[in-house]
Point group: C4
């Protein structure tokens, strides 16, 4: 019988290829993790390993304090932030971090991406908010993510001067949020280069978000 953790290792390994495919990452600068359901464990990318060399076996199994349980490499230097999110947001099953270009461009100015596209209303239900500037090395980044997203519809947060973190019910949903975040950050940026995008009424944003979160896609599993 296949170990469920092996399936998660494979899923996390494969999902890193989506970051490459959608050009959200260069070199080794981005990572995906998944919670092991029902356990105080997570699977995450090893640190400083290229996307070409990632395999299920290379993924690191950590506890939710970020300590390595199984794995011959060091885990991602962002492990503490992922772990903090899993400890404090129990509904979250996957976390993604990237330095994707347009999301970072908004983050470098400390500006939220306004919700001016129906696709944003669908996926994010609001602006994509900005979290605090925080140094790596302790729980500052994790706390900034959780404090910003806890009462927000958006599954993505732009960490000031740094990059983007996204969450989802599983790792695939978090990767989808990372892909969509860069896509709308880019489109709204380009739109604003030549004028102001039109606002969408809050009631319309609410209606679109409710419909998308409850009706879109195949039921119940295909999203």
């Amino acid at each position: 019988m296949t170990d469920p953790i092996d399936l998660i290792r494979r899923q996390v390994s494969d999902l890193h290829q989506e970051l490459v495919r959608y050009r959200l990452v260069v070199w080794t600068a981005g990572n995906v993790s998944a919670r092991v359901p029902g356990e105080d464990l997570m699977v995450i990318k090893p640190s400083g390993v290229s996307y070409d060399e990632l395999t299920p076996d290379a993924m690191i199994l950590c506890d939710l304090d970020g300590k390595v349980v199984e794995g011959s490499h060091s885990p991602s230097s962002d492990t503490a932030a992922h772990a903090y999110v899993y400890r404090h947001l129990p509904e979250v099953g996957g976390v993604v971090h990237t330095h994707s270009t347009y999301a970072c461009a908004w983050a470098a100015r400390g500006e939220a991406v306004p919700c001016v596209l129906t696709a944003m209303a669908d996926e994010f239900g609001a602006e994509i908010p900005v979290g605090p500037f925080a140094l790596i090395g302790d729980d500052s980044i994790g706390r900034g993510i959780v404090d910003t997203l806890r009462d927000h519809r958006s599954p993505a947060v732009l960490m000031k001067s740094h990059g983007v973190f996204t969450v989802g019910k599983d790792a695939k949903a978090a990767v989808k949020a990372a892909v969509m975040c860069e896509d709308v950050a880019r489109t709204v940026h380009i739109s604003r280069q030549l004028g102001e995008p039109l606002p969408i009424a809050q009631a319309d944003i609410d209606a679109l978000n409710h419909r998308y979160q409850h009706v879109y896609g195949q039921q119940p599993a295909a999203r």
Copy 2:
């Protein structure tokens, strides 16, 4: 003998790969449909299925009210808009919807793309017009498309705050219009970043459009 509907399923499935190739779509956010000639039927993408997993068999056969006739998935959430177009524009054999970046950037400001390139005069014969803001869920989007395109040369409409719909005599022509729409929306955007593009005289636009629609490409079938 091959069922003509099977051929259309294959064509519609394959044409989605052109949306990927020309980077008009990310994740699952875009769709192609084709009318079944001589029948009140259309073939369209299933909802929320990734482009990697699309196969001819996965395509959904619907009637022109958008009801599923054959298919194990739900059809695209944009099915009602496609169906409305087929019901009201009998010369249309294919419809495409995308959130391609530059088209959306113009749509988010509610601005038409001015006809300032000879390639635009060829393919669109005019500016690419803006349609109304409309919520998904009823015929509003379809009506907005049809009302905007019915008396317009352009096969593309920018739906305000949303994305682009294109039409054609068949699905391939609608995909070509989607590709060209993004291409010219991008070029004109970039041109305007550093000044104003020069206007093209209306008589020249008319002459170019007439020539391209009647002379260009192989006769009679290769276009």
Copy 3:
């Protein structure tokens, strides 16, 4: 023994893939031709055929008035312009036409690309000049190209509101000029978005161009 025209058919067919690789073209909108050395003949792309379907056999052999000598398709709708160039610039062995994005963005404003990069001084030796607005259908485009390039160092001309034509001693050199033209049009555009690029002194442009045209690359054949 291989017919020299067959070699040229293959070369012209293959070089179209470089236009695709460097993203200078979408759908069918660009073309390469080559003069048949020592003959009043040229080989050019067929009209409206996708880049996936191009083969050496599909290439069209024309005389230098643009009349088809051998080929089952219509030649490119830009054949008259290519032919005019070969008739009037005997040193030219290859011609390329594209609607590449950044070159077109400058062309839409009718602005030359200033020579502010050493790579431009190397390859173009000057600004990339603008040619007149001209309609397709007679010799206007060809004449505009020739009148602009005849006494100019640049192998590329931005035809107003239209696109770019490049020339070279052979088709490969013309393709290289098309690739470099888009590259520098893009870099200078992006540079100017945030200020004014520094000028390069004319004497330095002259020195760089002389060196590159006479020293760079493998001798004598590899460039």
Copy 4:
């Protein structure tokens, strides 16, 4: 036993494909070199050869005055600059030169890229500085690189009106710096298009750089 120089030939050849993959180069305009450890020798790309045709055997072995020791082609026209760097910066084991778009856009204005992203603080530890305008043909470019980088944390220098040179302990580290340089030059450019990126305090830049240079990645070899 494998000749160590053969291994370096292979590494330098392979690393050129990373320049292609990350779109730092078009046609033949970029090059990687590596010092042969313990010898007054370097391995560098041949001049004017396309990236498709590069093989380990095609790489050129030169002494540190840039004279060919082994190789049937001419070495890169930038060989003198690489050689100057190896002669004057003994800790450098690899050098990369590109005309990557966004780095060149800053270089064309003679502007340094400000350090406004944590990823820049990690990798560059400071702004990416500008070196002098210098003509090819003598030691001017090499001297400009060395004078700018000698007392600077950044492994990348933007040579005015020209392009970027990066250095590293080996060729792979120099390629990584070239990839990251373009990535941050692009992100900061895009951020500045719509306002001013927020500054990062010098103490935070120092802390991030120290941590990244000493802690990140697998120990000791994986970075």
